[in-house]
Symmetry: C2
């Protein structure tokens, strides 16, 4: 690590001009032979072009803004890590804008524009239509992660929430449950709504339903109240983070989770596999969702006019001990 | 949101020159009266200076690089959120560099230098001495978060790990435990080592000790083996993330956690309060640690020559149900 390798040294070793080195690393046109020589010399010498210098050539900051809230739900730190890894592999990094509940995501996205980010990933937040239009006008692509917005014209990557909800319903019905209830994710968010609708359509009549708002304490209270009043034999909870609270509350009420009452979550965060919860849940494939998000976003960085993409990724039901397993369920 | 407010509009409203507006927002000298007028006009109009334009004046990117790994331990997403909030309040944002286990943090910090970050926070990673010297030479301050490095000359913010470990030992001895064991955090890290040493010094002879390496599965295996072989009546586990695994494993072995065997963790992450674990633990005050980190770092950004600070923040023991409570313990 004795001083930075310069592009002049790379040029000398490759036997090409400095401007040829610049062209290769800025993605401008260069002959295959030149590119090969330059990349080999750069690798030999450990050369890495300065990002800001490169950004002056390419007009790229190599920064992607991420608005994220709700990090207490384990799914999001996991997603952040996967997004960061997928972007790092492409030479980009994430500039984090955490959105406390009180704060408007729009204000944060405005701040991002100040940093001249090349693109924006909005996770678990809603972006106002005005702002979406402004980003579009400024040529800065936005991809919504784990959240859809019908009217926005924005690209989005989610799991197949409707299909997933329906799969949980089929599982519970096949298990012979006759008193099924639902604690939904926030119905004001597409993820909460789609899971709930998919579940409802396939589950038949429910003995109880309430909106858990993606809030753990609220879900715990609702589960306890449902147990006392409606005595369900199965509850689908709209994400794992709430399901852990529901299980704790059901146990406090004396219910034997997995025998008297089945609980199924959605996400398959790490804690779902922990012995204390052993939660049956519909997996959101965080890695594949992150990769699809990065791919979609970088394609839009290359060509902002390519039109919005809406990607849904299916995940499997992960069967554990918190819910009765239908005979012969594969 | 009809177009960006310009500094010229702010100047006109405040009745000052444009360069006076620039001086105020770049932190250059301006009279109190001018500053007051400019700030009021800016607030009235919703003016916010462009970060990159400002950075050309001030030489500041307003970007702080954060190297972080180990996000599966809930303490780190929580810390990231607190660091991000504390920095956002000062007009800075975090550029994330996730360090997969295989990757060298040094390589990531090198990439950060390319982004011309104003400072670096290294959480849960070790920074090589060469690199620390290079950052220092480049005038880029580094603060280690939740990790100390004796020889590095770097600033660091940790909890009072030694004192905390000793406090756990006093609690267990006061509770009448006579067969005390320890599953340490990784002894190659200052946090793991200091907690273990503080505990050992105050606990007296231990019936078993092993290095859990901050790894949940490893801690689970060690706890089960200790239960079978040494039959401890108390185990101090070097962080909550491992303690959850230890509790699951002890229960699998048929041990009644909280009655037959007490388990105490370190961190007080959110899940420690969840019913299934109800973990007694030494709290690391994440918010205060984050604020101290940001304060230390930004002071160094102002004055890179001010010398390294080593800050330890004490946290309380949070008493829950996973360990026997001594009579009269306040």
């Amino acid at each position: 690590m004795s001083g930075r390798v310069t592009s002049a040294e790379v040029a000398a070793r490759a036997g090409v001009s400095r401007s040829a080195v610049s062209r290769v690393f800025s993605g401008a046109s260069a002959s295959k032979a030149t590119e090969r020589k330059v990349r080999k010399a750069a690798a030999d010498l450990g050369y890495r072009p300065n990002v800001l210098a490169r950004s002056l050539i390419t007009g790229r900051s190599r920064i992607i803004g991420l608005v994220v809230s709700y990090l207490d739900n384990q799914f999001y730190p996991d997603a952040l890590e996967r997004l960061s890894e997928a972007l790092q592999a492409e030479g980009y990094h994430i500039l984090v804008f955490t959105a406390p509940e009180a704060e408007e995501p729009d204000a944060l996205v405005e701040q991002m524009l100040d940093y001249q980010v090349d693109g924006i990933i909005a996770a678990s937040v809603t972006i106002g239509g005005d702002l979406a239009a402004r980003c579009q006008a400024a040529g800065i692509p936005v991809v919504l992660f784990n959240r859809g917005q019908d009217a926005s014209g924005l690209s989005q990557v989610t799991s197949a929430n409707r299909t997933g909800g329906a799969e949980v319903a089929r599982f519970l019905r096949a298990g012979g449950h006759g008193r099924i209830a639902q604690i939904t994710g926030w119905l004001g968010a597409s993820t909460g709504r789609d899971r709930a609708e998919g579940f409802r359509a396939a589950a038949g009549p429910l003995v109880a339903e309430a909106d858990g708002m993606f809030d753990r304490d609220r879900a715990a209270e609702l589960a306890a109240a449902m147990w006392r009043d409606a005595r369900p034999d199965a509850i689908f909870v709209g994400n794992d983070h709430m399901a852990f609270g529901a299980i704790d509350a059901l146990r406090s009420e004396g219910a034997a989770v997995g025998r008297e009452v089945s609980v199924v979550g959605y996400d398959d965060v790490a804690a779902a596999a922990w012995g204390a919860y052993d939660l049956t849940t519909l997996r959101q494939p965080a890695r594949r969702m992150a990769e699809a998000t990065v791919e979609t976003l970088l394609a839009l960085v290359e060509d902002p006019d390519r039109g919005a993409a809406r990607i849904e990724i299916e995940g499997p039901l992960v069967v554990r001990g918190s819910a009765r397993v239908p005979e012969g369920w594969a």
